[in-house]
Amino acid sequence: MSKDTRIPKDTELVGRVKQGDADAMEEIVKRYSNKVYSLAFHITHDTSAAEEITQDVFLTVIAKVGTLENDAYFATWLYRVTTNAAYGFLRKEKKYTEQTPMDEIDHEQIVGFDWSELPDDVLLSDESKNIIRQAIDALPESMRTIVIMKDVEGLKNEEIAETLSLSLPAVKSRLHRGRLMLRDTLSVYFSRYANRRDA
């Protein structure tokens, strides 16, 4: 008899895990461990914490997957568990304090010089990478999580909305505001090069 080589869908694997199938759980771990770890790491910036969170997330899968009513939402449920665990870690370690978001984006303030034409060695320098990492970390949690999920992890807006139990317009709005805040920070940082270019 030929071996079944098709790739099982999440819904099939989740159904089998609910029945206690260890092979299906192993496949889930192989399929999602990197995504869970990456999301946890980008929220915590701590490799040990990311490993611990990844383990806890999959233990939560075993313990609570039975409560998942629609297996098609497994991935977004997994991301939600991961996000909650990562912020739980940060709060426990007191490494995260939510900042007050800007109430309104001031168009006049965010117009700066056109730093998009700066050379790559400036734009991609270690210093500029640090600046943007710090800026992402300083975003209010409601925007930070969405920016990480979208711009770092590459999730779709719909997946983020489902994961965070938000409406699609809310995701888009927070993403936009977060990106504008990051752009603001980078504009301030790169403005030091404005005079050098004009000279």
Binding site: V17, G20, D21, A22, M25, E26, V29, K30, S33, N34, Y37, S38, F41, H42, T47, A50, E51, T54, Q55, F58, L59, I62, I105, H107, I110, V111, G112, F113, D114, W115, S116, E117, L123, L124, S128, K129, N130, I132, R133, I136, V147, I148, D151, V152, N157, K172, L175, H176, R179, L180, L182, R183, L186, S187
Partner: protein
């Protein structure tokens, strides 16, 4: 199209989720407004830099193997 409306739609414009008509309006606005053109360029680049600033990280194969073993043993105990 004015600058305020342009800014409100910039996110959708970058993601190409607007109607062709609105996208054309935005492009026409950028052609006449250098400030909004700068915002578009730097906003788009901010997204690119966010992706590049955060290092790609992978869980080790050993860790995945350990997770698989742990999960299997937990499921067998249930």
């Amino acid at each position: 199209m004015n600058c305020k409306r342009y800014l409100a739609l910039l996110n959708e414009f970058v993601e190409c989720t607007l109607s062709q008509e609105v996208q054309d309006d935005i492009r026409a606005h950028m052609d006449t407004c250098p400030r909004c053109r700068v915002i578009y360029r730097t906003y788009s680049l901010t997204i690119t830099l966010s992706r590049r600033a955060e290092s790609t990280c992978c869980i080790s194969e050993d860790q995945v193997d350990r997770l698989c073993c742990l999960m299997s043993s937990r499921l067998c105990k249930k």
